[in-house]
């Protein structure tokens, strides 16, 4: 895995013509953003924050998408438990 990551960083840096350090910085920013979205959605789904707060933090599209996902997963779990 570490080898894969190193090779990918090298390949991306070469393809874009920018230093590997910049690729790593961008990767860190994207990774933190993903983790932040997960945290906000988790708090929203657990009713720790309300809908408007979640929308203000990560945007309406992400919240609406998560709501759709929740509906699908709840439906699947209910079916699996009762079929």
């Amino acid at each position: 895995m570490a080898t894969d990551l190193t090779e990918r960083v090298q390949e991306i840096a070469e393809a874009r013509g920018i230093p590997e350090s910049e690729i790593l910085e961008q990767a860190l920013e994207r990774g933190v953003e993903d983790l932040w979205v997960d945290l906000v959605l988790s708090r929203y789904i657990d009713d720790d924050i309300d809908r408007e707060t979640a929308i203000n933090l990560i945007g309406r599209d992400r919240v609406k998408r998560a709501e759709q996902e929740v509906q699908v997963v709840e439906d699947d779990v209910r079916w699996g438990l009762n079929a």
């Binding site: 997960d38 997963v73 699947d76 779990v77 699996g80």
Partner: protein, 154 residues
């Protein structure tokens, strides 16, 4: 008695987490020829040969949906045979709901396998997490954890 028809999504996703055999938890599994051809375009998972299924033709005439051919074929078969559509595609789920076709996906299969004694509840939870981390399934981390909490509470 669960009669189900699968599109490529659950077959691929369950195979990616080494759980394709769990598709046999439904009583009868149908796979449209179109879906099988889609799998052949990549590689038919070898594990598919370990479970029983029937290859079926589909008539998509007049279905009027804008889905991939495999999803369309699976929806047509599910509608025609009053079967459960197994798909992990959100648009296909919407199309099925619009036509009153019962629709579920890979997560439902894992929970069903747990309910029917094919999996420990903890193993089902781990496989649900693997679906999120190791496949292209639509769900985010927070939603998977929500599903696992529902399973734990049951």
């Amino acid at each position: 008695m669960i009669l189900a028809v699968a599109d490529a999504g659950p077959i691929i996703h369950l195979d990616e987490i080494d759980a394709l055999a769990l598709l046999s938890v439904v009583d009868e599994l149908l796979i449209p020829q179109t879906v099988y051809q889609e799998l052949e375009a990549g590689m038919v998972p070898p594990a598919l040969e370990t479970i029983e299924y029937e290859l079926v033709e589909s008539d998509t005439t007049g279905l009027g949906v804008e889905l991939d051919p495999g999803e369309t074929a699976a929806l047509a078969v599910a509608s025609e045979r009053a079967a459960v559509l197994l798909t992990d595609d959100l648009a296909a789920r919407d199309a099925a709901n619009d036509r009153d076709v019962e629709v579920h996906g890979s997560i439902g299969i894992l929970v069903l396998a747990s309910t029917r004694g094919e999996l420990e509840k903890s193993a089902a939870a781990e496989l649900m997490r693997a679906l999120q981390t190791e496949t292209s399934l639509f769900v985010t981390d927070a939603v998977v954890e929500h599903g696992i909490s529902l399973l734990d509470e049951s």
